[in-house]
Amino acid sequence: MRPVLYEVCRSVGRLSSSPPPAVPGSGQNRLAALREAVARIERRGDHSKATILPFGLPELARHLPGGGLATGMLHEVMAASYQDRPSAFGFAFALAASALQSRKGPAFFVSTQHASREFGRPYVHGLRHLGIDPARFVLIQTAKNNDALWALEETLRAEVRPAIVVGALDRQLDLTESRRLNLASSAGSVLLVLLCLAGGQGTNAAGTRWRIGAASSSKDRFGALADWRWHTTLERSRNGRSGHWLLEWTHVAHSLRMAEGVADRTPYAGQASRRAG
């Protein structure tokens, strides 16, 4: 971390002493240019071109550098509580469904047997319901966490170029392990989403960290359950901002959207609009 910080300080110092012509006077633009500079420094040494998986939601895009989930770094998904783990699974698989829609290659799901014993393992018809083609979905189950980490790294570094790799571990990663995963995903420029089922604070190496909680789904006009909703907290976003939204998974379009115009507005929704504003 130290060299990067040093570089940031140096380039910030350079910018302040002699602002380049690309930075006009307005504060907003200046901030944007500084962010760009930091992002550029962080990308240095990374030969592959990072690509972005867009959410298609402007409210979220403002909080994420590049406007979406960047490949080549670790994205953590955590459950707000033990009971919310299926929702965290759901959010991670929703990301996988979007990745499969917009990218080539298969999706890999690496999990330990323990992680899938407690709340079950992915079910083929459930995957289909979520918009994931089972033929492009490869399930890898390991006995131990260390084997799962090995499998994740192997998959990320392979020539295969998966559309997305989703990992589910029942142990907190230490800094070394998460940085290794970070490096592996940037080597292949692969989108990596890690479900940390053990809870805890997450690691510093993560590019983004999402905390997911269950929320009452929307009802159609007959009062039947329509679209699933999750309280989605962006706890950490490197070079971005944190935020909180109530997101909804549309079964028709197989995509995420903001839950809006709902009768049973939860207090979370108000908070999200305040923060986003």
Binding site: F93, K104, G105, L127, R128, L139, T155
Partner: protein, 463 residues
């Protein structure tokens, strides 16, 4: 030999006797035959008629590795003697002649030149033709005791008196008819083997040796434009034990680098199982299944930007060797209404599946109602309170936590398959949401009856 036990006891005072144990004999012989695979991949154990006390080794293609047939015999004899055995060995152009020479020859080890089978066995007794008891006694009654006496007899009278077996055995011994051997392990299509100057002990050295064998095997495979699907590595211990491991590959390959990596991963997984006290003195590598080797199209949505199917197959191989069989799977829908049977977890399909595979009938039968993302390994009992007996749950306790149901969808009735046992009950599935927004897939098992309330189970979880 052939004496009664009491006679034998009177001849030898300190005679030890044991009951015969043919099963154990057979087992020991098979173990020895496996060990003998260090000389050649084709080793066939003798059947009952042949005495069941030895085996054939097909050395046609491998004698030169030991410096010729004479050196091979010497090598084999020395090693068998160190095991405490007194072998009788013979090399001949036919299995029959070698059996006759080993059993009835004058010397402990004999080599019969090609074409000299006839002169070699002429002087031997007719028993050396591996005949059944009946044929042997008939020949003895006819006064025919030596092979030379029967070898040029007119065939027609013999054919009418004996069964076909007799003439066939004679022809096979003389090389007029070929004799198929049944090898103890199916003979590989391609193989490579090597002997070490010094026994090797560590897994690293095994890997280096395997790498050399792979180089040789892969050049053979390349000559025939095939790739291997199943490989077997056999390691021969100094003390006569054989360790062998089989590797299945996701797709045919002839890349020695890749296969060596798989062997390395497998040894890593087996860590400990390959420990040896005495070391390995020889190794053999067999390609058991081969396939035409050509670039293939993958079904996993790889475009021109993605890598080829080969790299995917390589990845899956590496994962499987390290994590064990069944660790890497794909889920496929199956034809069943019962949720837990409506999916099969199978091997990863690397090749483009024909579209007919997913038949229209199956497409039609896919469930249209929502299905949970996570299915529990087995349905878990829940305590449910419902307003009316046949209605959706209002409250339920699962894993010790009470859930207040705010919305429920259902029921979706799933009846057991009619060919199932009659004990199987109907299930009414409900998708319920609790006050916290968590979604569950519950079912009521069976109908409501006054005396026994039906059981409720949580079967899956929606995100």
């Amino acid at each position: 030999m052939g004496d009664l036990l009491s006679n034998a006891r009177s001849k030898v005072l300190d005679l030890q006797c044991r009951d015969a144990d043919p099963a154990a004999d057979r087992k020991a012989l098979e173990k020895l035959a496996l060990w003998a695979m260090r000389y050649s991949p084709t080793v066939a154990v003798w059947d009952e008629i042949s005495g069941a006390d030895g085996f054939f080794i097909e050395v046609e293609g491998s004698a030169h590795l030991f410096g010729g047939e004479a050196c091979l015999l010497r090598n084999l004899q020395q090693r068998l003697q160190t095991f405490g055995l007194f072998p009788r060995l013979a090399v001949a152009g036919t299995a029959g002649a070698s059996w006759a020479m080993a059993r009835f020859g004058a010397a402990e080890s004999a080599i019969v030149e090609n074409g000299a089978e006839r002169s070699a066995i002429e002087s031997l007794p007719v028993d050396s033709l591996r005949l059944t008891q009946g044929a042997r006694s008939l020949l003895r009654r006819l006064g025919l005791r030596r092979v030379s006496q029967v070898i040029d007899q007119p065939r027609a009278p013999f054919a009418s008196r004996f069964d076909a077996e007799y003439l066939r055995k004679l022809d096979q011994a003389l090389g007029r008819q070929c004799e198929p051997l049944v090898p103890i392990v199916p003979a590989p299509l391609y193989h490579a083997q090597t002997q070490f100057l010094e026994p090797i002990l560590s897994a690293d050295h095994v890997l280096i040796a395997a790498r050399h064998l792979l180089d040789r095997l892969c050049s053979q495979l390349a000559d025939d434009a095939v790739g291997a699907r199943v490989l077997r590595l056999m390691l021969f211990q100094v003390d006569g034990d054989v360790k062998s491991l089989e590797l299945g590959l996701a797709a045919a390959s002839r890349d020695p680098e890749h296969m060596a990596r798989l062997i390395g991963l497998r040894l890593e997984r087996l860590a400990g199982a390959f420990d040896t006290e005495f070391g390995f003195e020889a190794a053999a590598l067999h390609a058991l299944t081969v396939e035409p080797f050509a670039a293939r199209q993958s079904s996993l949505g790889m475009g021109e930007a993605g890598a080829s199917a080969e790299s995917l197959a390589g990845l899956i191989d590496r994962l499987q060797q390290r994590l064990g069989p069944g660790a890497v799977r794909q889920l496929h829908p199956a034809m069943s209404h019962v949720p837990e049977r409506a999916e099969v977890a199978g091997a990863v399909a690397l090749q483009e599946l024909p579209k007919e595979k997913m038949s229209a009938e199956m497409e039609e039968n896919l469930p249209s109602a929502p299905r949970p993302l996570l299915l529990l390994p087995r349905p878990e009992a829940a305590e449910v309170m419902a307003l009316i007996p046949d209605g959706p749950p209002r409250r339920f306790r699962w894993r010790g936590v009470m859930h207040q149901v705010t919305a429920a969808e259902g029921p979706e009735r799933i009846t057991p398959q009619w060919w199932e046992r009659s004990g199987e009950l109907e299930r009414d599935y409900y998708l319920v949401e609790d006050s916290e927004g968590r979604r569950f897939w519950l079912f009521r098992h069976g109908h409501y009856a006054a005396d026994t309330p039906p059981g409720w189970f949580v079967h899956g979880l929606f995100p």
